[in-house]
């Protein structure tokens, strides 16, 4: 299940929902708000999502992860709204019989989500300026 959340993510609750007695491994990833980007001091972030399509594309990524790797369950939630340094921006969890598949699938989900899910990030900098991050051109606008 892939979801967009305007409220703080509860990692413990998310992980409990993946509980499965057939699973021998649970791999989770947390993306946090960092205080620098491309050498510029960052004070805070705003995330904005096109929720209906983000949830569809996210669900497709999770389905691909289940098809490519031997995983039992996978979930991802991404925040929207104003986030402070250290806040949890994105959480991915994968459970599998064995750790190899869980690690690979977790990596796949976060890498694909960053490339494909319609979510945008505006960074606010220490010098008072701000910009939308454009990973494809490597700059903030």
């Amino acid at each position: 299940m892939f979801s967009i959340s305007a409220k703080p993510i509860d990692p413990a609750l998310m992980a409990r929902e993946l509980a499965d007695e057939a699973a021998g491994a649970c791999v989770t990833f947390e993306g946090w708000v960092r205080n620098r980007n491309e050498g510029r001091p960052v004070l805070s972030l705003d995330y904005e999502a096109y929720a209906p399509l983000a949830e569809k594309e996210g669900a497709r990524i999770l389905e691909e992860a289940r098809a490519k790797f031997s995983v039992l369950k996978a979930a991802c939630v991404h925040r929207t709204g104003a986030l402070a340094l250290g806040d949890l921006a994105v959480w991915v969890g994968v459970v599998a019989e064995h750790r190899g598949a869980a690690f690979e699938a977790c990596r796949y989900v976060i890498d694909q989500a960053k490339m494909r899910v319609p979510i945008w990030k505006r960074e606010h900098y220490a010098d008072g300026s701000s910009g939308w991050i454009d990973v494809s051109s490597g700059t903030a606008r």
Partner: protein, 80 residues
């Protein structure tokens, strides 16, 4: 003419000054509509930096528009 709904996100929302609008257009495709709106509002991003979505699904720029469609133009994404 077709009546469409366009939703804006991120840099396009800021450049348009609106989240969403209803409009009448003679544009036949998603690509023609973006070009029309870009000329009207001065959007900085050229079409080849964006993707289009019609009715909450990705669509090619050549997608034909129908009355009542919802269009979104997606700036380069940056989740995570």
């Amino acid at each position: 003419m077709k009546r469409l709904r366009v939703q804006y996100f991120a840099i396009l929302r800021e450049q348009r000054g609106l989240d969403e609008e209803a409009l009448l257009t003679g544009a036949a495709t998603a690509g023609q509509l973006y070009d029309e709106l870009r000329a009207l509002h001065g959007f900085s991003l050229p079409r080849d930096r964006l993707r289009a979505a019609v009715n909450d699904e990705f669509a090619p720029w050549t997608a034909a528009l129908s009355d009542g469609d919802k269009l979104v133009f997606l700036p380069p994404v940056a989740g995570g």
